[in-house]
Amino acid sequence: MSTPTSDANPQPRRQRRSRASRLLHSPVFFPLVGFIAVFIVMALANDNFLLPNNLTNVARQGAIIAIIAVGMSFAIFTGGIDLSVGPVMALSGTIMAGLMAAGWPPTVAVIMGLLLGMVFGAFNGACVAFARMPPIIVTLATMGIARGLGLIYTGGYPISGLPAGFSFFGRGEVVGIQVPILIMLLVYLVAYVVLHHTSFGRYVYAIGGNEEATRLTGIRVPRYKLLVYTISGLTAAIAGLVITSRLMSGQPNAGTGFELDAIAAVVLGGAAIAGGRGAILGTLVGAMLLAILNNGLNLMGVSPYLQDVAKGTIILLAIYIGRGRNA
């Protein structure tokens, strides 16, 4: 370039962002605003909403979807998706129940169930990562497979007769906190640390942001995708543990439509559906937003048909408000 050089670059560019601006740009900001808005509306519309008992209810009711949504978040952050979560949850839960009903000790049964979830997730992951098939169609297919396997295993009947001790995971309390809520918080804590403080977490976002560039950088993308779907299988299985224990019966057809709720939670939580952007705490907020919607509309005695309409409308509004971030 045959141009005069100018050593002076006087522009005061590249200032560092302030704390307030960071908060505003955090992916959790808009979900939180939406959550608080709906929370306030629900509290005003119903006297019983704010009772501590009810808030515990809400958290417990939201826990299942919230736990599943962790795995879904990993999948979505990498630019993928996992539609098989509902049936995998049901399958893992029924296997746990079946093994316990067959006399296996609860701990072993639970471990087997969790392993099964991971194996199923790993299968999804292998199809996506090594066979390079699109996640949406892989998990659509395995969704049917998991559902079928669960029904074959139980012959369609729910499995009951579980040992009393097993109810701990769904109905127990530890230091005054209900176990399902505790499990949920634990899962989120681990997910947070993994996503924000390990290299793997960094790769999850990198793959979602630009898979090709990530691969070129020398990162073994397939390996980490495999891991992501394995995690999704695991969180589905954990949800299966909680729901089976809460129902004290293995339900082969539980979890129908849960994949859509989980996706809604992740997107309400501010994640970009194309991957690369999102926060796990946002997902928690999104899941709780769905839970207060369900609970609040029930408390208000809104007719079931109208609830669908109301829920859909509120989701639309929430996304509309925070939309700049997702477009």
């Binding site: 370039m1 045959s2 141009t3 005069p4 050089t5 100018s6 050593d7 002076a8 670059n9 006087p10 522009q11 560019r13 590249r14 200032q15 560092r16 962002r17 640390v193 403080h197 390990t198 290299s199 960094r202 790769y203 976002y205 990198a206 979602g208 942001g209 630009n210 560039a213 990530t214 070129l216 950088t217 020398g218 990162i219 073994r220 690369g276 952007r277």
Partner: protein, 516 residues
């Protein structure tokens, strides 16, 4: 013995022989230029060196030992680093995360040591004199800053062999100098570097030897001191190219104002005024990030603004979207062809006809494929796209040829005003002179052109008038003899008050109107 040697490397892609028995030797402490037209195979050769493509035949030797790089990771381990021609950063991650991606320092629990990473990044940036917040997300950065992050990332590998594939394309002269300082340091340290650029003067400034490729064939290797630009160009294109700029004959009709625009960008205090005459080439000069692209996008309605008043041939027009602009005959060639210009999975033909399909509707709304193909082939010949056919998928073309496809789209569109944003970025000399000639031909037909460029020779060699941008505002309007590199840089780098870029706004508008 050369630190790096590539021996008789060949590579075929479907329908293209990208490389045919190409050899290259680079010594420790040498900066070796790789020169060739667009599509000559430079990037392909470098990708083979870095394990991203596998050669069909041939060998890579480092310190005389044959190497087999099955992936970039392997190449890195052997001390090879690359700054890619196309960006390889992850937009959603922070600058530090990008630099250390895949090599994060970890503690005993396997958790990332953020502090250590940040310290190393700051140290690196200090050494390179780069002023970027390492914690900012990459998608907030300008193209130039992204390029420096890219460079920092490659340097952080402490590679013994460093490939720089057109690193200067998005940089200003100052920034190029900064890069050269870094490269000289590395030369002192004995690093072997391969440097790819279409800017001759850069090669003469920094390189020791130069290897020329033509159509995937090795041509020759020369000492830079023993040759000159004309000779190199002749080796590259196989014939002499005397003057890449067409005759400085202006087609501008300064009495016939085609376009007047008063635009105030969102978040800015002042309104900028732009006036464009028929047949004129109006340059937008300025430093990277000075707001030229933003202005171009605002002019075609692609970006929301606080105020936008446009007059086209004396009539007021409202442009709410690029489609409105197109309808009025204003078109834009965006600066980033991959993200903003091309539909990569489309064929050349489909890309070229995309915005004037109406021309091929013999019986609306149906498109006549035959007419479309004929028109496309004529256009591709006119801009000399090097491609197997008009139904070649555009994503497989070399960067320069992709740019030509974008240009071809606008030729038959019947536009009155064309805005070319960095039209020659990453384009070889031959193609450049073709594009310049094309621009002149267009102005001769009465079309007015706005040309945004970071290459001052291009601005001074081609433009009838120049607006200089500084901090998002037009700070000077130059014409005639004022169009001179020194004057432009003075205005572009002048320390200005953000509140009042040109003294008084009214006055500045008045000045500009008088100047134009």
């Amino acid at each position: 013995m050369a630190l790096l040697a590539l021996e008789k490397v060949s590579k075929r892609f479907p329908g293209v022989r990208a490389l045919n028995e190409v050899s290259l030797q680079v010594e420790a402490g040498e900066i070796h230029a790789l020169l060739g037209e667009n599509g000559a195979g430079k990037s392909t050769l470098m990708k083979i060196l870095c394990g991203i493509h596998q050669p069909d035949s041939g060998e890579i030797l480092i310190d005389g030992t044959p190497q087999h790089f099955s992936s970039y990771r392997r190449a890195c381990a052997a001390g090879v680093g690359i700054v890619f021609q196309e960006f390889s950063l992850i937009p959603g991650l922070s600058v530090v995360d990008n630099i250390f991606l895949g090599r994060e320092p970890r503690n005993r629990l396997g958790l990332i040591r953020h502090g250590v990473m940040l310290k190393q990044a700051n140290a690196l940036f200090e050494r390179l004199d780069i002023d970027i917040d390492p914690q900012i997300h990459v998608h907030h950065l300008s193209v130039a800053d992204q390029q420096f992050v890219e460079i920092a990332k490659a340097l952080s590998l402490n590679a013994r062999v460093l490939v720089l594939d057109e690193p200067t394309a998005p940089l200003t002269p100052t920034e190029v100098e900064r890069l050269f300082t870094i490269m000289r340091q590395l030369r002192e340290q004995g690093v072997a570097m391969v440097f790819i650029s279409h800017h001759m003067e850069e090669i003469f400034e920094i390189c020791d030897r130069v290897t020329v490729l033509r159509d995937g064939e090795y041509v020759t290797t020369l000492e830079v001191a023993d040759t000159d630009a004309g000779a190199l160009v002749e080796l590259m294109v196989g014939r002499r190219v005397d003057n890449i700029f067409p005759d400085h004959h202006s087609h501008a009709d300064s009495d016939d104002i085609v376009l007047e625009a008063r635009i105030r960008m969102a978040g800015r205090k002042h309104t900028d005024y732009i006036q464009l005459a028929r047949g004129e080439i109006l340059g937008f000069a300025g430093l990277v990030g000075s707001g030229r692209t933003e202005m171009a996008l605002a002019m075609i309605g692609a970006q929301p603004v606080t105020e936008r008043q446009m007059q086209l041939e004396g009539h007021k027009v409202t442009l709410k979207s690029p489609a409105d602009a197109l309808k009025r005959g204003i078109g834009l060639l965006p600066e980033n062809r991959k993200q903003q210009g091309l539909i990569l999975p489309f064929t050349c033909a489909d890309n070229i006809t995309l915005n004037h399909l109406k021309h091929f509707q013999t019986r609306p709304p149906f498109i006549s494929r035959r007419r479309e193909r004929e028109a496309v082939e004529a256009l591709m010949d006119r801009v000399r796209v090097k491609a197997p056919g008009s139904d070649t998928v555009v994503g497989t073309l070399s960067g320069g040829n992709q740019q030509k496809v974008v240009i071809a789209r606008w030729l038959e569109r019947g536009c009155r005003v064309l805005i070319f944003d960095e039209p020659t970025r990453g384009i070889d000399v031959g193609a450049k002179s073709e594009i310049y000639a094309l621009m002149k031909t267009l102005t001769a037909q009465g079309i007015s052109i706005v040309m945004i460029s970071s290459e001052l020779p291009e601005i001074t060699g081609l433009c009838d008038r120049v607006l200089v941008f500084n901090h998002g505002h037009v700070v000077a309007a130059l014409s005639g003899d004022e169009i001179e590199a020194g004057t432009i840089m003075t205005h572009a780098t002048r320390q200005i008050s953000l509140d009042n870029p040109t003294g008084s706004t009214d006055e500045s508008v008045a000045t500009l109107e008088r100047a134009s």
